[in-house]
Homo-oligomer: 225 residues x 2
DNA sequence: GACAAAATAAAACATATGTTTTAAATAAAT
DNA sequence: ATTTATTTAAAACATATGTTTTATTTTGTC
């Protein structure tokens, strides 16, 4: 974990190196508390490391945060790539389903890769200096890919605006469970978000969206012919 | 503005009272920067008021924040009530459209009532002590009302889960433009969010959702008969 | 106009936080 | 084994921030 490990001289004994302990702990703390409320003292304390260690190994708090954000992004997309088990030649319905499943799992998955979702959800509302990187390296490619799929589903004569709005509808339904997770756990305390629920959610979003998109296509045919 | 004004003795000259100046300025600062990053010094400075004024008039920073949040909630729902110009007897399609329009406008409207949207968007991600109040007084009633409308649209035999998920789909599409507004302005810098665009958005969400919901209803009929 | 209450101002307080400095310990290299 | 570079530790620094205290001014009332 955390690629720069090889730069550090490896100790022979069992304890992981200071730099790595900081990364592991800081990722959790940033995800839990956000950049502002996460303090270097809290991180160092939890990692059993001296206060000065963050500045020594990562220059400053912000640099540590950026490194964690980039790492978690790579990890999340590695585990859940956009095309999750589909080929370019597959029909757009199949690719849409894969896109939605991938996005939902990438965001809600409960192991390490959920770091990305929790960190990004804060960036959406309170962007830091790393936000532009996220926009260009994560959000724009996602949007472009979805536009292609939905463009195919709508057929050639659909306006760019229609494609655009349908993309927003699909993505919004997926991100909702990230954005509104605190509200949802308070509104429906009994509701769980395990693996089964994620699949149900992905199925619903796919069905809901395909119905709407195909209806738009039908309506266009009706008025043009 | 800011109802407690009558409690204070009104000055005869032109300058608004200190308490009111703080409320006006603090609302903007909290909406712009969030609770953490908004400092009492910044607020007092912008309001041309002494540092101690916030503690004198509002006890502490948090109490000031809660007062602003509640005020902005009342203002937003007063201007855009859920049933926005419809009656209980209207057909569910009409009531759904009104619900969506109302939610979109309440969130994106550009005057004072946009305060509510900007404040709430932060609460979603980083809940403060006022979050439970928001859940019970704003979110749950919203969800219940939408459930009734969608329950009618789906027909009596729809499962509670189906209704539930369709509610999530509708609400998520509306909140998206709040949640993702920073991302959207960076992805599509030319895109504006004026009054016309809001109406287009509301129309799209209504059409998209009605298509999907009616398709679900049709599918149920097909399998039950 | 005198007096009491309320509001404002200035300064100090107490604490939290990111960072730097300086010294000690540890590992690597010669 | 000695030396050098790297890492860790302890303390101090510098600053920002919410709050309180104390004094002064303003306002309302008799």
């Amino acid at each position: 974990m955390f690629s720069k490990a090889e730069k550090n001289h490896q100790k022979t004994d069992s304890l992981p190196r200071t730099r790595e302990r900081i990364l592991r702990v800081a990722a959790e703390v940033f995800a839990d508390l956000g950049f502002e409320r996460a303090t270097v003292r809290e991180i160092c304390s939890r990692a059993s490391v001296n206060i000065a260690a963050i500045n020594y190994h990562f220059r400053d708090k912000e640099n540590l945060y950026v490194e964690i954000l980039q790492y978690s992004k790579a990890l999340a997309f590695e585990k859940y790539p956009h095309d999750l088990g589909t080929k370019k030649e597959d029909p757009p319905e199949i690719r849409l389903r894969a896109f939605i499943r991938s996005l939902v799992l990438r965001i809600l998955d409960d192991d390490l890769s959920s770091l990305f979702g929790r960190l990004v959800s804060r960036e959406y509302i309170e962007p830091t200096g790393a936000f532009d990187m996220l926009v260009e390296e994560a959000m724009r490619p996602t949007f472009v890919l979805l536009s292609e799929i939905i463009g195919e589903l709508l057929g050639g004569r659909a306006s760019a605006m229609r494609v655009h709005m349908c993309c927003a509808s699909v993505i919004s339904q997926c991100l909702f469970f990230l954005y509104a997770r605190h509200a949802l756990t308070r509104l429906f305390p009994e509701q769980k978000f395990g693996r089964t629920e994620m699949e149900v959610i992905a199925d619903h979003i796919t069905g809901f969206s395909l119905s709407a998109i195909k209806d738009f296509r039908k309506a266009m045919k009706g008025e043009k012919k």
